[in-house]
């Protein structure tokens, strides 16, 4: 420690100081240290193009890490490859090396690079251009996306060696106009897909179909490209890649990159209300930790789960350190910032000029910001994979780094913070896709038919293609002539298919008390019950009343009020089982998997007086009903599990259990918590028994509930462990839910039911 500046010379020194602070250490539930790892390298492969080797040497690369060499070898052998290594392990070289080498030897070769975002695409072009310049080779790399000016598009299509784009652009601009891309499609040898793990869920299912279309067009032009993929750590990289590409893929995961010592500190904010299980705000605690780090001169990244939290944390932190560092040295980073501004921040981080950044998961992907020293996660990012990915932003090849995981009071966070072994011992989640979801598949069959007529005997995905084609012909979308189906609509189908689901869209909350100020956001599914007109919306402890909800524009206009009640909306959810595809009986439980129809409509809201909780009024909610046909998994309890509970107790037990399970499910599915929903029914319309349903929140289902059906036993085991492990008295938001919701006996009833079911009572 420098006594004059108060700055720690190293992260180690700072951590030593931290250990001497009992008021902070009291909240540390676990301290995990990962030892430093030396580099494992191999010499440049014999026969590597001399120009390329020279260019690399001039960048200081004289040997390859083991994973780089392994993927180079596999690509040379003509295999599809997926490379899985952590952040900053030099994974771009894994695909750039073989591509550039081939291009040096043969000028006619083409490569297509896909990145999930435009920003990543631009990074990549800069890197490739630098290498090309070093080699003095005429290798043209271009981004092709919505920002590409029309005047240069034709030149790029004809002359670009490497086209860098995103799946959305491939879907709506390149494939439907493939005749303009003859040069590319006739000569494409490599298709590079980076950030493979980002293509999961609905988005991934769409992208898998875009790749089916891409391969179909390539076949038409007589090319058969190799796929070179890279992914962050997930449990099933190879399986995921194979499902996405529909081809065998070789896995390379022997990471040879060095890393310094890493500390992962689990931090649980102290409890401030024992009875209600309320903890101190994770935002304030994150701010405190980040402030300590920044004041000591340690370059830090803070991840927050929403845009609004980013802004709140940013304001706090800038204020906190403005005298030492100046506000410019701490920046925010999230979607909604202009590209130019983002580039500037990325540069500042690399040069060290910017000392701190507060970001959403926008910086989780491989954007080059160099390596920072410390990372503070405000709340569990939602998946083990994301957590590692974000914490990987801190960690230099030499020297120590530290990541703080600051738990919020959300049950998932609490489970993890109290079970560090679960987090550390569990491999990251699986990435799951369901490309044969009928709606998604049908959309892409349309797009594919537009691109090229289908012929008898063609295949596309898992469903019987001729049935789909016949269906589309009946709908007069396709026209059958002989053994071919032709597109026959005036419309351009790709314009009506978006790859990214609308579920990520949020409603913005605008405070009109003084001018117009955005104070927060609510996700689309929460909107009907939280920000319907006349609702009392509480934000940062302040009450606001919703005056107008602009549903199509996704805006809620609120005004600050001071009233002694809150509002509670009723959502009428009806769930009907259409048919069950699979069924298993184990002990007193029958579990099934199949298709359901769900209708949800907010009906009325009640005004409930604070403290006394008496009902002091109500009103109707006028919002459209939503109907959903999807796949679901459900399980019903036989009488012996009920053990004579009355209906009311059963209600509470089911509710409590459902609350626990719905928080655990996304953890195992690596999906957004809003992708899966739960409905408990005391007497199900379907089996007349107490039942808990889970359904995919996407028309047709995306394979989530199917996976839950398969891991049913594991799920219940986890649930029991979570309830038992929770320190609350009789239910809190971190386990079965607050007593206001599940009653005073909720925790006991849920646990009893669970134990009788599992035979652990």
């Amino acid at each position: 420690m420098n006594p004059w500046t108060g700055k720690a010379a190293t992260v180690e020194e700072w951590l030593d100081l931290l250990r001497g602070h009992p008021e902070i250490m009291a909240n540390v539930t676990h301290w995990h240290t990962q030892p430093a790892k030396p580099a494992r390298t191999v010499p440049m492969p014999a026969g590597m193009n001399g120009k390329l080797a020279e260019a690399l040497a001039s960048k200081g690369i004289r040997e390859l890490y083991t994973h780089q060499a392994a993927s180079y070898r596999a690509v040379r052998e003509g295999k599809n490859v997926v490379t899985v290594t952590p952040t900053a392990s030099g994974k771009t070289l894994c695909y750039n090396l073989p591509v550039l080498e081939h291009l040096l030897a043969d000028d006619s070769v083409r490569a297509l690079y896909l990145f999930p975002t435009k920003a990543l695409a631009q990074d990549q072009v800069a890197e490739l251009q630098e290498l090309a310049n070093l080699m003095e080779a005429d290798i043209k790399t271009h981004t092709y996306d919505g920002d590409t000016p029309p005047t240069v598009r034709q030149a790029i299509r004809n002359a670009g060696h490497i086209i860098v784009t995103n799946p959305d652009m491939l879907h709506s601009a390149i494939l439907p106009h493939h005749t303009k891309w003859v040069k590319l499609f006739e000569n494409v040898k490599y298709i590079v897909i980076d950030e493979l793990h980002a293509y999961r869920g609905v988005f991934g299912s769409h992208v898998a179909n875009v790749i089916r279309r891409l391969k179909r067009i390539c076949r038409f032009y007589g090319s058969n490209p190799q796929f070179l993929c890279a992914s962050a750590t997930i449990r099933n990289p190879r399986e995921h890649a194979e499902r996405l590409l529909g081809e065998p893929v070789e896995l390379v995961d022997d990471n040879g990159a060095p890393s310094g010592e890493k500390h992962l500190v689990f931090y649980n904010p102290p409890v401030v209300n024992q009875q209600l299980g309320i903890r101190k705000s994770s935002v304030l605690e994150s701010q405190k930790l980040a402030g300590l780090l920044l004041k000591s001169g340690i370059q830090t990244i803070v991840f927050a789960r929403s845009r609004v939290r980013v802004e709140i944390l940013l304001t706090y932190l800038q204020d906190l350190v403005k005298r030492e560092l100046g506000t410019k040295s701490i920046r925010g980073y999230r979607g909604g910032y202009l590209p130019k501004q983002r580039r500037e921040i990325e540069r500042g981080l690399r040069s060290g000029e910017i000392r701190g950044v507060v970001s959403t998961n926008a910086l989780e992907l491989g954007i080059d910001i160099g390596q920072l020293q410390a990372c503070v996660l405000n709340g569990y990012p939602g998946s083990i994979a994301s957590t590692w990915q974000q914490s990987g932003r801190a960690g230099r090849r030499h020297g120590s780094s530290v990541t703080f995981l600051v738990a919020s009071s959300n049950p998932l966070d609490q489970y993890l913070i109290q079970n560090p072994d679960y987090f550390l011992g569990t491999p990251p989640e699986e990435a799951r896709i369901h490309p044969d979801n009928l709606l998604i598949l049908l959309d892409h069959v349309k797009c594919a038919a537009y691109e090229l007529p289908f012929e008898e005997g063609d295949t596309f995905g898992g469903e019987k293609l001729s049935d789909l084609l016949e269906f589309l012909a009946e709908e007069k979308v396709l026209h059958r002539a002989g053994d071919r189906w032709y597109w026959m609509e005036q419309a351009f189908p790709a314009h009506n298919v978006s790859l990214r689901s609308a579920a990520q869209e949020n409603f913005v909350i605008i405070d009109m008390t003084e001018g117009h100020k955005v104070i927060g956001e609510v996700d689309r599914f929460g909107a009907p019950t939280l920000i319907h007109e006349e609702a009392i919306y509480i934000h940062e402890g302040v009450q606001y009343q919703v005056e107008k909800l602009d549903y199509p524009e996704k805006k809620a206009y609120v005004r600050q009020v001071n009233v002694d009640y809150f509002t509670d909306a009723s959502l009428a959810v009806e769930l009907k089982v259409l048919h069950a595809d699979r069924e298993t009986t184990s002990g007193p439980i029958v579990r099934q998997y199949g298709e359901v129809s769900v209708t949800a409509k907010p009906t009325i809201f009640k005004k409930i007086r604070l403290r006394t909780h008496e009902n002091i009024g109500s009103g109707p909610i006028h919002l459209p009903e939503e109907e959903l046909h999807t796949s679901a998994y459900w399980f019903s309890f036989a009488e012996e599990a009920e053990a004579g509970m009355n209906a009311n107790d059963m209600q509470m037990a089911l509710l409590g259990l459902a609350n626990v399970l719905i928080h655990l499910a996304p953890l195992h599915l690596m999906c957004d918590p809003f992708d899966i929903r739960v409905v408990p029914q005391v007497k199900s319309t379907h089996a007349k028994k107490p039942t808990i349903y889970f359904y995919d929140r996407y028309p047709g289902g995306i394979g989530l509930s199917q996976r839950l059906y398969e891991m049913h036993d594991e799920l219940l085991e986890e649930a029991e462990r979570l309830i038992v492990g929770c320190g609350c008295l009789s239910g809190c938001p971190a386990c079965v839910g607050p007593i206001e919701e599940v009653g005073l006996l909720g925790k006991e009833l849920s646990l009893g039911l669970l134990r009788r079911t599992r035979g652990t009572a």
Binding site: S172, A481, H629
Partner: protein
């Protein structure tokens, strides 16, 4: 089809609409991004050359020949089976080594009239279109200097199943026109495919008609008809060798002349308002895709009668339009309708007068434009006065200040009286007197007046920065001129 799947699809479709609505914002953005894809055609300049657009037939001719023999036998039978509507229109089946399609062939004597012109006038005026062709085919070396001959033009208009130039848009009808001067005829041919499987044969036929012809004459063909057709050749397994066909696309010249003076630049509007052609009972082109789908589903050719007639008129109008622009460049164009306009060949609307003159200038016909600019300068009406400045600017560029100065003076005079005064003319005059006439005091007078007007002019928020800069510039000019005129006095 399997009942289960059907049922699932029906169920899913009900909610697909709801899901779609939610995705609209995203889709709107995606559209904005890909709309550029459609627009760029207009920006693409690199189009080239004529003639036997070298194509490489992918299929083996031996196989094709065998098929052709078998087809020959069926031909007569097929012809007798054609729908009566086809017979009424004179449509016949045509065959080649790639299969069959339907062909309608019409011959017009060159002495017949379509609107303002007789068809044979094309022979006289086509060579005058050379500057248009060289502007539209920049970078096509083999086209440059090539004379435009009426007999080597191919007039082309397609009817397609959809919009845009994506791979799923199929031209189901191709209308072409060509002149055979020796026979004294204009031929209009219309191909039709009874289903998309006949496309290859139709495209092959078009290739034959393109051979030995230098330019495609179209209305928006550079960015629509031809890119669509080029894509179809690729989709059918043909690769173009050598350069692209040349273009004479009259959408661009039409816009240059009529963009503001006509209600729209649709071909039907231009025909009616500028070419003296009235269509009766016309099926709008936008309905063609729908009618074709009807024909596909019930096989009733009656749906297509209107499409045939519409397309035929379009091809004929292309001939008239080409003749009209050729005549303009030749200096004998009929620039308007009605007796008063036809008389002196001067457009009535001031803007059209200016745009026509400027268009002639841009095509190197300053000799022809002169009369129009003079006419504009001579007019005193409010509409004309708005074009004085631009006309004066043209004279200035040519160094003809004797013609520019009176216009500036008149424009300055008018500006003084305007509620929303412009001071451009004053600035021009100040510059002229300072640098050309070397009359510092006259220059100062106009500069001071310009500054006064600039200060008087109400400023909108959008213009603020620019106006402030201009005021600053004027202040400097005034100061400099004051110093100068003081200097010259002492």
């Amino acid at each position: 089809m399997s009942g289960g799947l059907r049922e699932r699809l029906e169920r899913l479709r009900a909610q697909a609409a709801a899901a779609k609505a939610a995705d609209e914002a995203y889709i709107a953005q995606a559209k904005a991004e890909t709309a550029a894809e459609e627009r760029e055609g207009a920006a693409a300049q690199a189009l080239a050359r004529p003639g036997a657009a070298g194509l490489d037939a992918a299929s083996s001719t031996g196989e094709a020949a065998a098929v052709a023999v078998a087809r020959e036998a069926e031909k007569e039978k097929a012809q007798s089976e054609l729908h009566p509507s086809f017979a009424r229109l004179g449509v016949e089946q045509a065959d080649n080594e790639f299969g069959s399609f339907l062909l309608r062939r019409l011959a017009y004597p060159l002495a017949s009239r379509h609107g303002l012109y007789e068809l044979r006038e094309l022979l006289d005026y086509a060579p005058w279109l050379e500057p248009v062709a060289s502007r539209q085919n920049k970078g096509a070396d083999d086209l440059s200097g090539l004379p435009i001959e009426a007999g080597r033009l191919l007039f082309l208009d397609t009817e397609t199943t959809g919009l845009g130039v994506g791979a799923g848009n199929v031209p189901f009808m191709i209308g072409i026109g060509y002149v055979e001067p020796a026979e004294g005829k204009l031929y209009v041919e219309q191909t039709l495919i009874r289903h998309p499987g006949e496309e290859k044969a139709m495209l092959h036929y078009l290739l034959g008609r393109m051979a030995n012809r230098t330019h495609l004459v179209t209305y928006n063909g550079r960015s629509f008809d031809w890119p669509v057709l080029a894509g179809r050749y690729i989709l059918n397994g043909w690769r173009r060798k050598g350069p692209e066909p040349g273009h004479l696309d009259f959408l661009h010249p039409s816009r240059a002349l009529w963009r503001n003076t006509l209600e729209s630049c649709r071909l039907s509007r231009i025909e009616q308002d500028r070419l003296g052609i009235a269509r009766e009972e016309d099926v709008p082109g936008s309905l063609a895709p729908e009618l074709y789908v009807k024909f596909l589903s019930d096989g009733d050719a009656a749906h297509l009668e209107g499409v045939y007639l519409h397309n035929e008129r379009d091809v004929l109008t292309l001939v008239t339009l080409a003749t009209h622009f050729g005549a303009l460049l030749a200096g004998s164009g009929r620039l308007g309708l009605g007796e008063e306009a036809a008389g002196d060949g001067i457009p009535e609307a001031a803007e059209e007068l200016f745009r026509t003159a400027a268009w002639l200038d841009a095509h190197g016909r300053t000799d022809r434009s002169e009369r129009l600019f003079e006419a504009l300068a001579a007019r005193q009406d409010e509409a004309a006065s708005r074009w004085w400045l631009k006309t004066a600017l043209r004279y200035k560029k040519l160094g003809r200040f004797e013609a520019a100065v009176p216009l500036w003076l008149r424009a300055a005079d008018r500006a003084e009286k305007a509620a929303f005064p412009s001071y451009e003319a004053h600035v021009e005059l100040a510059m002229f007197y300072e640098h050309r006439a070397k009359n510092a005091s006259e220059a100062l007078r106009f500069a001071e007046r310009a500054l006064e007007l600039a200060l008087r002019r109400p400023v909108s928020a959008r213009e603020q920065a620019r106006i402030r800069e201009e005021r600053e510039g004027l202040r400097h000019r005034v100061e400099r001129l004051r110093r100068k005129s003081r200097g010259s006095r002492t």
